[in-house]
């Protein structure tokens, strides 16, 4: 029997798990969390590893290294900051945003058409980790690209630029941006509507490793272990991608992960089924999709959630018999103490309503919709975005949802979304709700590259079906 260890260095907690690798797959032996040591990540990492291996915490890392196979990931301060530049908002820019988020990044700002002087100074101020620069199909538009390349070249930005636009002018872009670090990759939209985001994702990942990992001691771990960390969201993304490959019953699934700073939503389902009566507009979104919402979170982002989510919060507070003022006070309390845990029954309900609001807006932004159009040939549905109707399983992960035994936090907002606006949202028709009860998805994600089937198997085995308990909110 072999022990495999996976450690995820998060922004607040460093989580680690030890798995036994037997003939039948992984078995969870132990799972622990220690506070992340912000100044030097190695300290928390070292402590986690020593405890998982049941060694003296003073044992040098070199000695611990040989005792087990070790994988690790890092969330890099709550996600990689990416600025996305595209041409047309509904085409290359939307794909650039999708690619950035699927690679584990957080889109801090997006820009379409030509960058203005104001855009450039805003970019400089945002100081992103990566600029994702796209636009034009292969052999298509080059005017905007070349113009923007010149502006980026003369800006004070210092971060690397990933170029994933019109291939025909890639060399020109390199020439213009001589003094910049520019990585050229395949066009993310080689033809109108053709989605090609894998190469971009790969490049973003490489840069993530090289540039961002360099600080705060991670380089030391990389040197010592001879392996690279994964961005945490990418680890989960890979896990979600691989589960249906081994378990057909889990062919259409979604995962929602509410954290202190962000809410991530992952889906793995066909985004559009072509029929005579449904016409897709805009790009066909990829089968596996991740969106991340930087303004939705239960602690660091509680304040912005309170502002974004006002209409949902008011509605739910009224139903539960609370005043908006009470919520505001609670938000103030948790924003100033990030490790605050809800104590009274009231606070627990308020916390739950905040989590519901995270689900509500994350799903709203992730899912597509359709509207009915009456044509001389009959009724036709015009779909935009991703169709989630076939999603059978919605899994809650992250600190809050992993510990949440009721379906309410996910089911209530989904039910409310059914009456959202004029456009019908394409939500899961009748999903079962699960929780990632040991909060394993991020650590299991680290193992997918080497042990895809074993990781998928344990992920499926460790989720708990919440819908079977007779609760039904639909």
């Amino acid at each position: 029997m072999k022990t495999v260890i996976s450690i995820d260095i998060g922004s607040t907690w460093t989580k680690g798990a030890a798995f036994a690798l037997t003939g039948s797959g992984f078995e969870l032996k132990e799972k622990i969390s220690v506070p992340t040591t912000q100044d030097n990540l190695v300290v928390g990492f070292h402590e986690t590893l020593a405890r998982l291996l049941h060694q003296d915490p003073l044992t040098p890392l070199e000695q611990l290294k040989g005792l087990s196979e070790i994988f690790f990931s890092s969330s890099a301060k709550g996600g990689l900051k990416i600025a996305a530049i595209g041409l047309v908002p509904d085409l290359t820019l939307q794909l650039a945003r999708l690619a950035a988020m699927s690679a584990g990044g957080k889109v801090v700002k997006s820009f379409s058409f030509a960058l203005t002087g104001g855009d450039v100074s805003e970019l400089e101020k945002l100081n992103p980790d990566i600029v994702l620069f796209s636009g034009g199909t292969d052999g298509g538009n080059s005017k905007y690209i070349l113009e923007n390349a010149k502006k980026l070249q003369s800006s004070r930005l210092s971060c690397p630029v990933v170029y994933a636009g019109n291939r025909a002018v890639a060399e020109d872009v390199l020439n213009i941006m001589k003094s910049r670090e520019v990585v050229v990759t395949e066009n993310l939209m080689p033809e109108v509507g053709q989605v090609n985001i894998e190469p971009v994702r790969e490049k973003i990942r490489e840069i993530f490793l090289k540039r961002i990992v360099a600080g705060r001691g991670l380089a030391e771990i990389v040197d010592l272990f001879g392996s690279q960390p994964k961005p945490t969201p990418l680890a989960v993304f890979e896990l979600i991608s691989v589960i249906p490959e081994f378990y057909q019953d889990w062919s259409d699934l979604a995962v929602i992960d509410i954290g202190g700073a962000t809410t991530d939503f992952y889906s793995n389902t066909e985004s559009y089924l072509e029929t005579d009566t449904v016409v897709l507009k805009g790009i066909r979104e990829p089968k596996v999709k991740r969106t991340v919402e930087g303004d939705l979170g239960l602690r660091v982002s509680a304040r912005s959630l309170f502002e974004t989510g006002q209409s949902y919060l008011e509605d739910r507070l009224r139903e539960e018999g609370f005043e908006l003022k009470e919520m505001e006070e609670f938000v103030d309390r948790i924003s100033s103490r990030l490790d605050y845990l809800a104590e009274s029954q009231t606070e627990k309900i308020l916390d739950q309503i905040l989590a519901e609001a995270c689900v509500y807006y994350a799903v709203l932004r992730h899912s597509g919709g359709w509207r009915e159009v009456y044509t001389p040939q009959g009724r036709v549905y015009v779909q935009t975005g991703k169709d989630l109707r076939r999603v059978k399983a919605v899994i809650g992960s992250g600190g809050f949802l992993s510990g949440e035994k009721s379906t309410a936090v996910m089911a209530i907002p989904l039910k409310k979304l059914r009456n959202y606006g004029e456009e019908k949202k394409l939500l899961p028709d009748c999903p079962s709700f699960y929780r990632d009860r040991h909060y394993l998805f991020s650590v299991l994600g680290n193992l997918v590259e080497k042990y895809p089937q074993e990781a998928a198997s344990l992920a499926v085995a460790s989720v708990e079906n919440l819908s079977q308990k007779g609760e039904n909110h639909d």
Binding site: G139, T375, V380
Partner: protein, 177 residues
């Protein structure tokens, strides 16, 4: 670069897809790079695709009789989006009823379409005209010739577009029937 890109599609709430597929096959065989947006395409979608692909022409189809409403303001939107020199064609059953074609043609030309076609036009003729019009507006000849740099083109084009805006001659051939 080789080929000139054209964008085709059926505008509005129109789902006639058969002719659209034939047009794609035909224009591809004529040596164009065809971006086919399919059915139920909005003006904005035509224009977005034309911008991303640096297309030289947009060919709009409409068969269900509401073409006039759907096409209203198309040229204006192109101008707003910086597609000044783009060639705009429209064809199909453009209006309901028995309006004489000359009236229909006049109407769509006033909207800024360069040419207007009936549903039974000989497509060979359309391809020929399209080659001419692109050459006239973009200065470079079609399919096969190296394109000049876009900024260069754009300068020539805005001049060319201005010049030909008013005194375009309609060849007899395009008015079949």
């Amino acid at each position: 670069m080789g080929k000139d890109t054209i964008v085709i599609g059926v505008i509005g709430s129109d789902c006639h897809s058969v002719g659209n597929k034939i047009l794609e096959l035909f224009f591809t065989s004529e040596g164009f790079k065809v971006v086919n947006l399919g059915v139920m395409v909005s003006q904005q979608e035509f224009i977005d695709a034309a911008i991303e692909t640096n297309a030289k022409a947009i060919l709009v189809s409409s068969l269900y009789g509401h073409g006039e409403i759907d096409c209203q303001g198309f040229r204006d939107l192109c101008l707003e989006k910086g597609l000044d020199p783009i060639v705009l064609y429209v064809g199909g059953n453009l209006v309901v009823g028995k309006t004489p074609f000359s009236v229909v043609e006049e109407k769509f030309k006033r909207m800024g379409f360069d040419r207007v076609f009936t549903p039974d036009i000989d497509l060979k003729q359309v391809a020929e005209l399209l080659r001419q019009d692109i050459k006239e507006k973009f200065g470079s000849s079609l399919n096969g010739q190296e394109n000049k740099s876009q900024s260069n083109q754009n300068k020539q084009l805005s001049q060319a577009a201005q010049a030909d805006q008013n005194n375009r001659q309609e060849p007899e051939g395009s008015r079949t029937k």
